[in-house]
């Protein structure tokens, strides 16, 4: 079926734009940028239709990549239903965002006056790595994609590399992800040691036979990797900063696709996790904690992209709850619907920012409903979806997760429902602050071009209808172990009510009586400050991890160990060596032949030593 064609198109696009884009016109760059991804989407669609029922995984072997003793890694791609979902999400949303980007980046020059082609080259490279990640049939190829998307994320966050905050954010993302990758690498080593292979098929076939302790360790290490990539506690801190990149990047990489790689990886490794309940519990707890925690931070943010960034973290937490509760298909379901509505939210906010010529602070917005109606209505679709208003896509996926959570541990359900309410609140707070009331800024808002609104409309339809258009749990039912989570109408009603309540509170606080928010903030005082400052997590990390490392490096390692101990030792040795060298200097005649004699002397000595020690028996 030539699966390799799917990722190769974006790679070709990357090479063409990256190598020659500087000389191309913007139109030509756009053609290659969009064309490659669209071709990839078309080919993926054709492949999947041809493989239609796809009850069992279909894989293709290309070549043996590494062979070293028992260690063998093949360059294999495989497609099963999970991959099919991911392929469609990645290429479909990727295509839409590429189209959007042409409009969004039209006025961008970026530093180094090569911004436009550079942007599309990176974006295409990202698509290539993401598709490799999704298609790879073993952990190492997945890891290549994993690292590759990390690289592209770094490049794109730091896209405006002439601004310090952007490069800092890029570095932060890269370094924080390293911690996760460290866990992932360790997990791979352990997998290879345990199963003797990195191949998904081989590993999963043997997984039930392995001991639970080993599987739990592997699971936890994989989870460490996933928390890094998918921005979960404790490694979520990079994602909000990652908003320094252009908005389409935030939509594609930091909302729809890359950050969900962790969820995908956990879902992919379900045979390991299902045999490691402790790891599953950890996933669920981390997920629910992240979901709640990030949602509360989201309530107090004023930067429109930051709100959605924390919302992403929170929603990713939801997905992990689903995965951790054993409802893998629900997690993937939410992954897909989230990709729709969160991409839409980001693209919409990008459209708002575009309309206001770069303004991101919601306090300087307001009343944009009439000025940019298409953006408003499409974003509204996404907002109701994320708030879990009944029969939107978010409603289905969120409820699927919450059922599983209730089945797993009722308290998780309640926290989840509370989070859903908070989510609805802050999303609508953002909506109301942006689109309602009167305009507080001083730019001249204008509606975005059709290139940008087109993708918005498509995504709006998907956000509203994605829930019943794509019944992911049924589609993936055969793949994952089934979970008997009874559908309880009561639970459904409660969670929907929480969402609606959140919307209502937001409406009251920001539309009916616009002053309430400030007075409540004032009365809560310390708590509000805590939330506004994101619980001082960055500061805490700075104080507990970064500072000690830096200071420790400076004082202990540099002054103490390096200057004192090592330099001292080295100098001491140097002095000693010079003294000895003074004697041995006679040997260093500068004459090659006498050196050779010494080498011969040494080898004779070695043979004698070996025979004396019994090595030559």
């Amino acid at each position: 079926m030539q699966l390799w064609l799917i990722p190769i198109f974006p790679l070709a696009g990357f090479l063409i734009n990256g190598l020659f884009g500087r000389r191309f016109s913007k139109a030509l760059v756009s053609v290659f940028g969009i064309g490659s991804v669209a071709l990839s989407f078309a080919w993926a669609l054709k492949t999947l239709l041809a493989l239609a029922p796809l009850n069992t995984a279909y894989s293709e072997h290309y070549f043996t990549w590494i062979q070293s003793g028992a260690f063998q890694v093949n360059w294999d791609f495989s497609v099963d239903r999970l991959t099919a979902v991911m392929l469609m999400v990645v290429t479909g949303i990727g295509s839409l965002i590429h189209i959007y980007s042409v409009g969004y980046m039209a006025h961008e020059h970026g530093p180094n006056h090569g911004g436009f082609y550079r942007f599309f080259a990176y974006l295409n490279l990202f698509m290539f790595f993401m598709l490799t990640l999704v298609l790879g049939a073993n952990y190492l190829i997945l890891f290549i994609g994993w690292e590759g998307v990390g690289l592209c994320s770094y490049l794109l966050i730091g896209f405006y590399f002439d601004k310090k905050f952007a490069t800092d954010a890029g570095n932060k993302a890269f370094i924080v992800n390293r911690i996760g990758d460290f866990g992932f690498s360790l997990a791979m080593f352990l997998i290879f040691k345990t199963f003797g292979s990195l191949d998904f098929g081989t590993v999963f076939r043997q997984a039930p036979a392995a001991s639970e302790a080993v599987l739990t360790t592997i699971g936890l290490l994989l989870l460490l990797g996933a928390t890094g990539k998918s921005a979960q506690i404790p490694l979520y801190v990079w994602l909000p900063d990652a908003m320094a990149g252009p908005t389409p990047v935030s939509a594609l990489i930091h909302a729809a696709t890359m950050v969900t790689a962790g969820v995908y990886m956990c879902a992919r490794s379900f045979p390991i996790f299902t045999h490691a309940p402790a790891a599953m519990d950890t996933i669920a707890i981390i997920g629910i904690a992240t979901a709640f925690f990030a949602a509360t931070i989201g309530m107090a943010q004023n930067d429109i992209k930051k709100v959605f960034a924390y919302s992403t973290v929170s929603q990713l937490g939801y997905m992990f709850v689903g995965v951790g509760c054993g409802a893998f298909s629900a997690g993937v379901y939410h992954l897909m619907t989230h990709a729709f509505f969160k991409a839409l939210l980001f693209l919409g906010s990008g459209s708002v920012i575009h309309a206001l010529s770069g303004e991101q602070d919601m306090r300087n917005m307001g009343g944009l409903r009439t000025k940019i109606p298409i953006t408003f209505w499409t974003m509204m679709c996404a907002a109701v979806a994320i708030a879990g208003v009944p029969f939107t896509s978010g409603f289905f996926s969120k409820d699927a997760i919450l059922f599983a959570a209730n089945h797993h541990a009722p308290w998780m359900y309640w926290v989840g429902t509370l989070t859903a309410g908070i989510t609805a609140f802050y999303v609508f707070r953002a909506m109301f602050m942006t689109f309602f009331g009167r305009y507080r800024g001083n730019a001249h808002p204008h509606e975005s071009p059709a290139l940008m609104t087109g993708p918005l409309i498509v995504l709006a339809i998907l956000s509203l209808g994605g829930g019943f258009l794509f019944k992911i749990p049924e589609f993936l039912g055969s793949l994952f172990p089934t979970l008997e989570a009874p559908e309880d109408v009561m639970l459904m009603v409660i969670s929907s009510a929480a969402g609606l309540l959140g919307i209502l509170i937001a409406y009251v606080m920001y539309v009916v009586k616009p002053g309430t928010a400030d007075s409540i903030a004032g009365s809560l005082g310390g708590l509000y400050k805590l939330v506004l400052n994101k619980y001082f997590v960055d500061e805490a990390y700075d104080a507990t991890v970064v500072k000690p490392v830096v200071n420790g490096s400076r004082v202990v390692l540099w002054r103490g160990a390096d200057a004192g101990l090592i330099d001292g030792t080295v100098n001491g040795i140097g002095t000693a060596a010079r003294a000895v060298g003074g004697v041995l200097r006679q040997m260093q005649s500068g004459n090659i032949r006498s050196y050779a004699t010494w080498v011969l002397f040494g080898s004779v000595l070695l043979i004698v030593a070996m025979s004396l020690s019994g090595g030559l028996r």
């Binding site: 260093q588 500068g590 004459n591 090659i592 032949r593 050779a596 004699t597 011969l600």
Partner: protein
């Protein structure tokens, strides 16, 4: 069809190697010294091939093959260096090339 003890091959290899070392030690012409190195490499190759026979496995041949490739690369670079040295110092005497001494 009498058979040859395998130690004969190894001894021959040792003799050739020792002759290579001798060439390295006692010759002053840099080209000859270089040829002595090739002689040593050849002696080692003979050992590889002999062991390959001994263990009835093709791996020794592969090692010999790699030695040859590396020797070819080494000869190309080494001779280029010799040419450069000769160009700069107009001597091939290895004892005269001792700038590292000071």
């Amino acid at each position: 069809m009498a058979a040859i003890p395998i130690s004969w091959f190894l001894t021959l290899s040792a003799v050739l190697f020792a002759l290579g070392v001798a060439g390295f030690l006692f010759r002053r012409n840099i080209v000859t010294v270089f040829m002595s190195i090739e002689l040593m490499l050849n002696a080692v190759n003979l050992t590889f091939i002999t062991f390959s026979y001994h263990f009835k496995s093709v791996d020794g041949h592969l090692f010999a093959f790699f030695v040859m490739v590396v020797a070819a690369a080494e000869a190309a670079v080494g001779l280029a260096i010799i040419l450069t040295v000769f160009k700069n110092r107009s001597t091939l005497n290895i004892d005269a090339i001792d700038s590292m001494k000071n």
